[in-house]
Symmetry: C2
């Protein structure tokens, strides 16, 4: 089992991702695709006169403040336009795709954090009414039911809280939780950067291998959205996933290249290629 | 098996619909919910500076002209905001809902009609690039797989064309096709009117019963969106559905009331209540 997360940042072309997935499907590989949608969500938020608000939590992570209105915009982009767009692309490649959010069948469930402590202009502040949280539980029975019947899952946030509210969850960490729960051997996280860079402005400074025991010091090196990817990688490895690959979505055959070791590879044990 | 279609016109409150569905679920009833979203799609289209364009086809039916941009707005509303909103509401009532579009697992498939002949200012005109069509085939295997596993399906357009393109299909007719394919005994179509009215401006002029043999003359009586509901009813009855009920979504217990015979009932045979 393989879990592939493809980000939603500017500059990502889903066609090569889908072509790779179709090839994997034809080879009989079992996988789940998890996707993001942050760039498109920003565009729609701006168009609707509800510009995105990014906050930095007290623990140093960037997150989208998600009130109810933002949640609905988020759902429109993630579950509507992008999820269904990916399903349509995959169907055109003869892949029997089904798109699900974390709400559907409580696929992704966890606690809501309805207030967050943020740092704004150097001062701590509590924000309420946030629809964010994290994934604790994966409905693996539903995943297996559909995969065993021959379908391919295309999964997107939001997740559902224990008290039944839709929550925005980080897609990378949700993918890590899925990989762990499904006993996946590998987790591939594709985004609009080649992997973890030593110098964020120099793509040649890619760190090709990270020892899992050295992951915490690399967490400090990571900037912006990469921080959560490293955190996701740590969570996946802690959960039992054999290998996490952070790789570039913007190349030809992005999944093939990632699986052949291009990107930042964090392996708990050596896997056969 | 029961198929319930709830419209997406202005003035429909989904809470009583979901409460009724939760009660049916607890009683062990097997059903599928199909939903619309036209009012919300109009609102979003207007907000995004892409006002909806309704055309009247040469055969006299009103339809939304759906170019690619409109299709994506449509997906955002139907598959995103509304479908996930309904799933969330049902989950909060302990109903294990799963939302699917017709694209997912090719749940609803049929031919695309990429050009339509419309009548505008009394003149016939051919419009190209339309993403509309109709449902011919239902993936009943997927429906049964999920229902047998205990899930409740919340289904929305678009459907998928035979050549893998997302197509806007009429929700009432899609529900009729589902009811037929699933061998449903009953199809309930809820909207923001009490049923078929003899005088569209007088809700007291409700036609309570229609003989299936007299459906064609009632088709001529129907105006606007009601025309497609009567057509859907005819298609469902022709396909073998025992009873179609056109009823009001705006009342307390709308499904209960419809099932008890309130609305316009078109029955091929007498069913036990």
């Amino acid at each position: 089992m393989l879990v592939i997360k493809v980000g939603g940042s500017r500059g990502i072309d889903y066609d090569p991702v889908c072509a790779d997935l179709a090839a994997l499907y034809r080879e009989g590989e079992r996988f789940v695709l998890v996707h993001g949608g942050s760039h498109e969500t920003n565009l729609l938020s701006n168009k609707l006169g509800k510009p995105p608000r990014f906050v930095t939590t007290a623990s140093g992570y960037e997150s989208r403040y998600t009130d109810r209105e933002t949640l609905e915009i988020f759902e429109m982009v993630y579950c509507g336009k992008l999820n269904k767009g990916l399903v349509e692309k995959l169907q055109a490649l003869d892949v029997p795709a089904i798109g699900l959010s974390g709400l559907d069948g409580r696929l992704l469930e966890g606690p809501r954090k309805d207030s967050i402590t943020i740092v704004e202009n150097g001062r701590r502040k509590v924000l309420r009414g946030d629809h964010t949280g994290r994934v604790e539980r994966v409905n693996t029975r539903l995943v297996h039911l559909l995969i065993d019947a021959g379908y391919v899952l295309v999964v997107s946030p939001p997740a559902i809280s224990h008290d039944h509210v839709a929550i925005n969850v980080d897609g990378d960490r949700a993918a890590a939780r899925m990989a762990d729960a499904l006993g996946a051997e590998r987790l591939v996280i594709l985004s609009n950067v080649p992997g973890l860079l030593r110098d964020v402005d120099d793509e040649a400074s890619l760190i090709a291998r990270i020892d899992p025991d050295a992951i915490d010091e690399h967490l400090e090196l990571a900037r912006g959205r990469m921080k959560k990817k490293i955190l996701a990688a740590r969570e996946a490895l802690d959960g039992g996933v054999g290998e996490v690959i952070l790789a570039d979505a913007r190349v030809a055959s992005p999944i093939r290249q990632a699986l052949s070791g291009r990107g930042t590879v964090i392996a708990r044990r050596v896997l056969s290629p």
